[in-house]
Symmetry: C2
Subunit: 235 residues, 2 copies
Amino acid sequence: MEQAAEQGGGLVSSTVGAITRLIREQDLMPGDRLPSEATLARDLQVSRTVVREAFRSLAAMRIIELSTGRRATVAPIDHGAMSLIIEHGVHTDQISIQQIYDVRRTIETRIVTLAALRRTEDEARIITDEAAAMRASLTRPEVLMRHDLAFHMALARASKNPVFGLIVGAFQGITSQTWPIGWRSRTTTEAREAMIVNHERIAAAIAEGDPERAVAAMALHFDESVRALISAGLT
Amino acid sequence: MEQAAEQGGGLVSSTVGAITRLIREQDLMPGDRLPSEATLARDLQVSRTVVREAFRSLAAMRIIELSTGRRATVAPIDHGAMSLIIEHGVHTDQISIQQIYDVRRTIETRIVTLAALRRTEDEARIITDEAAAMRASLTRPEVLMRHDLAFHMALARASKNPVFGLIVGAFQGITSQTWPIGWRSRTTTEAREAMIVNHERIAAAIAEGDPERAVAAMALHFDESVRALISAGLT
DNA sequence: ACTCCAAAGCTGTAATACAGGTTGGCATTC
DNA sequence: GAATGCCAACCTGTATTACAGCTTTGGAGT
């Protein structure tokens, strides 16, 4: 499928393909070092300029990591690039916030089912702690938001499927930009309390290993969140 | 020289940030043209080299499109970059094929529900046609696979939520690499027939606007597919 | 108005230069 | 022999110049 991408006709595109192939053929794992720019330029018969631009492309997708003076290394999977792609889609009106929430609901409903069944004791504690930290930071929205995001990432991790983490992470960029809107629309103490309670309920269900209750609590959470966003006049 | 709080200290990273900000602030939409490399280099006080590498980064994520002689343009959302990210995760053993299928099942189960409710007549016809095309190409695996992939993309489109299309598309790169394995493991006529029938059942349920039957058919489809991959010895 | 073409503008690639960070090995010391 | 400190080689980040080839633009001619 990267054949299509590297067919662009440019030297850079085909160099990206060559480097990708090199990673696969040599079975390089995250952390392994790639050849230097000069070496690749010589081996592939292109200028260092071309190799550098190819490296930048791969680094943008977090397939490799670059840092000054050091060789490029193969990167661990990371949702940073996906996050930017989603943000771009939203900012150019190709994706709405509601559509993001529809997908999140689908994904996270499945996540809590798996998390309830597979979470370790440690993970259950982390999830519970994040919910508690949310309650403790009711007066500091930025801190509260950070714990909210961390809560959902912890759930994804407990599902034991890294792809869920990737997708949840991909939405965090845009979510962190819209979260304050939802928060400000919760004007009453009750509304804010309800949001916290939903998270605590989810955490409790995960801790008890009860998938049905976890799903039900997550559904309530999304109902409440979407209601908050709509009442703020979002799409 | 602006030191954006964005990424690591590099000039390229902050230039990427500056260009992204420019797209947002000027509210550029897909197809709109960006300033030339030389203009940006002058405005941002960096060399053309830096601007080019920033452009490459954004192009890798399909946030902008580059082509010779022409100005860079803002790009429509596209799953190409995500596809490469997923492939990288699988090739470096950070993601397993089974995990991909778990996520696909979750996503596509939701997709068929929405598709059954929201599909237009045209979309219903396209979906049915792709299923028919699959049956018609039983002896040509490459063609059959193409229609299989197109079938699932058509379902995603009918869900009327572009994010589902993005995710399904993100999996197509790696799917097209593993599909032949599953196909070869279906050695009997019955097994191959069963696979086609599952697709036809899904198409029929969508055409009739019956979400429950569509979900049930999709579940059968995934049960059968995963069984085929496991019998082929895949993780 | 319309067509066609040449000039101007733009991107793709190469080559060179140098500053500053990193690495590995060597010498020194304990 | 092990730990430490230091230096030279290597590597990446950025700037600059040059030129080929493609695209767009604006004007000349009809």
